[in-house]
Amino acid sequence: MQLSRDELRTAYKRMCLIRHFEDAVHEEFSAGNIPGFVHLYAGEESSAVGVCAHLDDRDAIASTHRGHGHCIAKGCDPKGMMLEIFGKKDGLCGGKGGSMHIADLSKGMMGANGIVGGGPPLICGAALTAKYRKTGGVAIAFVGDGASNQGTTFESYNLAKVWDLPVIFVVEDNRYAESTASAWSVGGSQVGRANGFGMPGEEVDGHDFFAVWESARQAVERAREGGGPSLLHVKLYRYYGHFEGDASTYKAPGEVEQVKTQFDALDMFKQRVTETSLLGPDELEDIEREAREIITDCVASAASADAPANSDLLTDVYVDYKF
């Protein structure tokens, strides 16, 4: 299976949008313009984009606390996202959710999640709806390596298997859960666990967009055709700290730089498409510039946007409630 030029352009654009989005959030956070707990996805772009490239409006994803990349990859509006992260009224969630609860159900993005392991059960529900309604839709749960040890995650593996749901569990193993190494915290292996539950599982180089894309293609196709759940163990790396403010002293000296120079997802993508003449360097530069401009504009809008009205405090608790 071959990616079209358009698909490649879209993929690169999304990866650039994510990278610039996260770099911008990092800067704005450092400048004191963004409050709260913010977890950045920079370095992991090819996972979200490589997986979501196969999805359309029938499909749903459940994200994690590190959700910006998944949002952008699934087609959420970066401006609405940035406003949300700034806590503004016109943010995707009206400023009530923030970075950890960013969601856009109209795009099949079922929410970042402040609870590690919160997403997998929920995505079984989206998959059940798709199966019940026979839409052909599939559902993806992104799961961190840390979240891969949470009981809710395992239960979801089993439920998806037993109910034969169109779910793909994408374990994004960025080596750490907070400061704890996945090499320590994960007993056995991700693929071994998947197999133990009767699901196919595959290990993928998450720095390589094309590897992710191809593995995800097979898993999505299997699920769409009624072949049930499966798991991808995507090995990648996060450039920033666990959250903004983390000094990352648990990483080895030079570790980040090494990954950045040798395994950067965007660089690897560029190299591959230029080497094979699928896209030209100028084209790539244009796409990147465009992405940068979009994000700059997002930040400017977010900074000057209005806060929610005070009366918003008590709305949206219920659809309908007699107080």
Partner: protein
């Protein structure tokens, strides 16, 4: 009107809503039963038979048996609810909330708020509560105060078969997540229940007795004890208003405050443990709002601050008694004339 048990009223409510709306699906452990087993299909129809007969009528696509994985299937029901279905999940005993509470209180309950009003989560969780079955500490708790505390959840406590059906249908049609509490001792209770579909609105209390001397506010199974106490007191010339709020969230504050003000003497009866429960909730509400009308302290009658014991003699002691309600009313009526 035909007579039906609490159990059959629930079954009928589920069946009629499933017939009416194909978005309604149900799931839980052994709610049909016999899944993958060589014997009878629909072998259980739910641990207490509430869902019996639904699988044969609606098929395994709409009546889903689950593995013992409450987080996964309750969360799955929540996820199905935000994506267009109207699931009714069964949490067999509310005591099992501890293995799946996150999906209820942090996920389903908060979607709408966290997502800025853009999510609708029409999820019902039916669950069994209460003491009286000699089921001991991990199968006899009330725990509805914990759910009442959580914004975003609605909490329903039917006290009889008529309410069971009408409130359940309302719960299924409601667009918010609803915790539906069924007292295990009530399942065999019988009463008149219309064959037709009907709903009972949330947040509207039922005044089951009217009187002048005192008000008794009671929840779930305790309503029946309150009625009995009222009838006995009535025979002795003391007339009592009994209020069954039916839902604790939303709460019909108006009726509660009105009847409390009228009689000036209030007893609140709550089977739950005494700390941070509904007795304190109602008592504090009245105390803040009807101060000038109160003729006597508000009495709370509750289960003790102890787990539910197994031994029948201890469990019987544990559960609030009709006599205690009578005595409390008599004590209050003796005061503040």
């Amino acid at each position: 009107m035909p007579t039906k048990s609490f159990r059959d009223a629930l079954n009928e409510g589920l069946r009629q809503e499933m017939e009416r709306d194909d978005r309604v699906i149900i799931m839980g452990e052994d709610i049909a039963g016999g899944m993958g087993a060589p014997g009878e299909d629909d072998a259980w129809g739910g641990p207490l038979g509430v869902t019996k007969g639904l699988m044969p009528q609606f098929g395994r696509e709409r009546v889903l048996d689950t593995p013992i994985s409450e987080s996964a299937f309750i969360g799955c029901a929540a996820g199905a609810a935000v994506t267009g279905l109207r699931p009714v999940a069964e949490l067999m005993f509310v005591d099992f909330m501890g293995v799946c509470f996150d999906q209820i209180f942090n996920q389903a309950a908060k979607f709408r708020y966290m997502f800025g009003g853009k999510a609708t989560t029409p999820l019902v969780i039916r669950t069994m509560y209460g003491a009286g079955f000699r089921a001991a500490s991990q199968h006899s708790q009330c725990l509805y105060p914990l759910f009442t505390h959580i914004p975003g959840l609605k909490v329903v406590l039917p006290s009889n078969p008529y309410e069971a059906k009408g409130l359940l249908i309302q719960a299924i049609r409601d667009d918010d997540p609803v915790m539906f509490f069924e007292h295990k001792v009530l399942y065999d209770d019988e009463a008149d229940v219309p064959d037709e579909i009907y709903t009972i609105p949330f947040g509207e209390a039922n005044v089951t007795r009217e009187g002048d001397d005192a008000t008794v506010i009671a929840f779930g199974r305790m309503v029946n004890l309150a009625n009995e106490a009222a009838d006995k007191l009535g025979a002795a010339g003391i007339t009592v208003t009994v209020v069954d709020p039916r839902t604790t969230s939303p709460l019909d504050k108006e009726t509660i405050l009105e009847t409390a003000s009228e009689t000036g003497r209030v007893v609140v009866v709550d089977e739950a443990h005494p700390r941070c429960n509904l007795a304190t909730d109602i008592s504090a509400l009245i105390c803040e709002n009807c101060f000038d009308d109160m003729k006597a302290p508000i009495k709370q009658i509750t289960g003790p601050h102890a787990p539910v014991p197994f031994s029948p003699s201890l469990e019987d002691l544990y559960i609030p008694k009709v006599e205690a309600i009578e005595a409390a009313v008599r004590e209050l009526v003796g005061k503040g004339h």
